[in-house]
Symmetry: C2
Subunit: 102 residues, 2 copies
């Protein structure tokens, strides 16, 4: 299994972020070939000492890093990546890696 | 469901980090009451433009944020948190949130 983590910083307008994210970005991302599951945080992201500066984390599962590369290289993946500029102005950090249950 | 994300920055000595993490820290963390699953990245964490500055991400699953709070407040949770100082000198960011499959 491999996971893509997308970690979004607190937006200026959370309501506008949520509307765009769930109405537009998620439907785009769900078309990425090879996507197995899509999980998001709901409500505040907390840190060790209170509310975290991160607003939302998304975890997209694929079969492997090769599947992530193929998915992100597809037209649907490119459209999803390009769409970040439309709502993630506060910042988004993307990490990808093979994962293992231990 | 709720998840605790622990995001570790690149250590100076990756081999020493791995040894301590898998031999000592993981066994401590696995004793945290309420822990449902434990998933880690294996191999390089990649970003959008190559290798990411993050070295390893761990995702610990619990039933709810209340379960995370209870688990982290337990003696086992406190010992696990205190143990970070023994190997995560390069930095670790902890995020917790309720999650939903979408």
């Amino acid at each position: 299994m491999a996971k893509l983590f997308a970690i979004y910083q607190q937006p200026v307008d959370p309501a506008a972020f949520d509307k765009y994210y769930f109405d537009t970005h998620v439907p785009l991302a769900k078309k990425i070939p090879g996507l197995r599951s899509y999980e998001v945080t709901r409500g505040d992201v907390m840190g060790m000492g209170g509310k975290h500066a991160v607003y939302l984390t998304a975890v997209l599962a694929f079969d492997s890093m090769a599947a992530i590369a193929a998915g992100m290289g597809s037209a649907e993946g490119q459209a999803t990546a390009a769409d970040l500029a439309n709502f993630a102005q506060a910042g988004v950090d993307v990490m990808m890696g093979e994962t293992e249950m231990i």
